[in-house]
């Protein structure tokens, strides 16, 4: 039976949107068995609190309206009441699967606004943590996609590797999940010898483990058939919707900010951007697997070339002074108080700084009126933009493929809802 919404006193707006949507998939069905299905916000396969309203014709999805905002915490507004420094821990909670790349993106934006640069060693370490974050984020995606299509072993294995990565993070940054590691003008602390050894050890054993996961999936008929040709999008549509990251590169477009507008030290590093044709879930799987392998090589390159030197820029009025100087010098003590109380006071102006986060282009737009607080902060989050493509990807798919499609674009609601 069709839903008799006309009899309802007020139609919910999301239902109205679903009914207004042009559905291009039409099936002749004598029984007219069209139904509306709510999926989420508490569905294990929607990866967080994403709600989908699906219009079904039998098992075929003829329309889809995603509803976002269940995890909205108002970070953009909150930022207007935080000094630039205070906002760093909040960035952990955007894309909480790769907090380190958010930390890096945010401080790069602030540094661009202030007009300074971190010293080389800090740049190398920031690149290192961005790539580690990419591996850890893609590992979670691998596990959850595999589980969504029924391969539980891969889920266990990729989570085991992630657990090892978290042990590395614990030694590297001092926290497993909420890292808050970068600082304006540098990093919270330097790479410690034990952390360095852990990164190297992890990188030594990891390729083998990844290969085992691949062995279980690449030629697995169930996995391949469930991903092949599912969730199709063409290159033009992807560009129109502003898709970025692995989902865009799975449409055959080689666009990676690390190559297109190199930041940090990506210019000096040698890496490829995996690009696949097809624009389906399988292509997205290959892109991300390729990216993990590239990240391994990047981490190894960085570890071999790590320069020595300070990790904090010398900008007394902008960068928090070193502790031993705060304890002994009056001037540094005053700077400590001034920066904490009144903020960095960057010059009037606006900047936009984007980085290639694991999910796509993560950008921070900052508008400063010269005070210690940003006048406006806007987060261009890849998950939010990528979720726009969902109705297009899902239309015409079977209901059992919906979970695989959501998994393949890898949305994180913390970031999409901000």
């Amino acid at each position: 039976m069709a839903v008799q919404t006309d009899e309802l006193p007020r139609k919910s707006r999301i239902l109205q949107a679903l009914e207004d949507q042009n559905t291009s998939v039409q099936f002749d069905d004598a029984l007219e068995s069209e139904m509306v299905l709510n999926m989420g916000p508490q569905h294990p396969a929607t990866h967080g609190v994403l709600r989908l309203l699906l219009k079904l014709d039998g098992e075929t999805v003829t329309g889809c309206v995603p509803e976002l905002g269940y995890l909205h915490r108002g970070y953009e507004k909150l930022a207007e009441n935080c000094t630039y420094y205070e906002f760093i821990p909040h960035t952990d909670r955007l894309d909480y699967l790769s907090p380190l790349s958010n930390n890096v993106a945010y401080v790069l934006a602030v540094e661009k606004l202030i007009g300074m640069e971190a010293p080389p060693r800090a740049q190398y370490l920031r690149t290192l943590i961005s790539e580690l974050a990419r591996i850890s984020s893609h590992l979670l995606w691998l596990g959850s996609l595999a589980m969504d299509v029924g391969a539980l072993t891969v889920f266990m294995w990729s989570f085991r590797e992630r657990e090892k990565m978290y042990d590395v993070f614990e030694h590297l940054v001092g926290a497993r999940f909420t890292t808050s590691f970068t600082r304006i003008g540098g990093l919270a602390h330097d790479l410690l010898p034990d952390a360095e050894k852990m990164v190297r050890d992890f990188m030594k054993q990891f390729p083998e483990q990844l290969a085992e996961c691949e062995k279980l999936l690449n030629r697995n008929r169930i996995f391949v058939e469930r991903c092949d040709g599912i969730g199709l999008i063409t290159a033009e549509q992807a560009i129109d919707l502003g898709l970025t990251g692995p989902s865009l590169r799975a449409c055959g477009i080689s666009h990676d900010l690390r190559k297109a507008q190199p930041y940090l030290i990506y210019n000096d590093l040698d890496f490829d951007v995996p690009v696949y044709e097809g624009g389906d879930t399988l292509a997205r799987y290959y892109v991300r697997m390729g990216e993990i392998k590239q990240s391994i090589s990047l981490v190894n390159q960085i570890m071999d070339r790590l320069p020595s030197g300070p990790i904090h820029a010398h900008e007394p009025k902008k960068v928090l002074p070193r502790k031993e100087r705060v304890y002994t010098k009056m001037e540094e003590l005053i700077h400590d108080f001034m920066i904490v109380n009144f903020g960095e006071n960057p010059p009037v102006g606006e900047v936009y700084q984007a980085v290639e986060a694991p999910k796509g282009e993560l950008g921070f737009y900052l508008n400063s009126d010269g005070k210690g607080y940003p006048w406006r902060l806007k987060i261009r989050s890849p998950s939010f933009t990528n979720l726009q493509s969902l109705p297009m990807l899902i239309q015409g798919a079977m209901i059992s493929d919906v979970v695989a499609i959501i998994g393949s674009i890898d949305p994180v609601m913390g970031e999409a809802d901000k």
Binding site: I88, E170, H171, G174, T178, R219, E225
Partner: protein
């Protein structure tokens, strides 16, 4: 590093792979092998994880011979992104002149960011290695000085880490 691996689509699967049974056996071989590898799980309540010095556990106040280092400047409560700290200053005849009459951290609010430690001009508040926090009520989660004070001796690993790496 090789660039792109070849994408294997359904049409590229060989006949044997399409039958699937040999693949199941191969997959089982991979998974059974895991049984003979060392275990990665930790038997939690019996086995506890020992955090390294750089780990950020719950914030504590450092005292030396029973006198806290804190001078109640209020910088930590200013910077705290979660607004978890409350400091109330009072005067003392000691050299430092001021001391915190009341120092409370609401452990439900605290997000373990370590900013209080980073800005403190007296090395008075630092992150410990304690991560097990259990409360039964909201009142219990507000830690006063009695729960926060730790001797400098006890906190030595962290203090050494701060001295060498901050």
């Amino acid at each position: 590093m090789s660039s792109n691996d070849k994408m294997i689509r359904t049409k590229d699967l060989t006949f044997l792979e399409k039958i699937y049974l040999p693949e199941i056996v191969k997959g089982l071989f991979l998974t059974v092998r895991q049984m003979f590898k060392p275990k990665v799980t930790v038997q939690y309540p019996e086995e506890r994880f020992e955090p390294p010095a750089q780990f950020r556990g719950r914030p504590v106040l450092v005292h030396e011979n029973g006198v806290e280092r804190c001078v109640a400047c209020g910088l930590c409560s200013r910077v705290c992104p979660a607004l978890a700290i409350e400091v109330q200053a009072a005067e003392t005849p000691l050299d430092k002149e001021r001391y915190p009459e009341k120092f409370e951290i609401n452990m439900i609010r605290c997000i373990f960011c370590g900013f209080c430690e980073e800005v403190c001009p007296e090395e008075a508040i630092i992150m410990s290695n304690e991560y097990l926090l259990v409360f039964q009520s909201q009142e219990e989660a507000v830690f006063g000085k009695d729960k926060l004070l730790k001797s400098a001796e006890e906190m030595r690993p962290r203090l050494e880490f701060l001295r060498d790496h901050r």
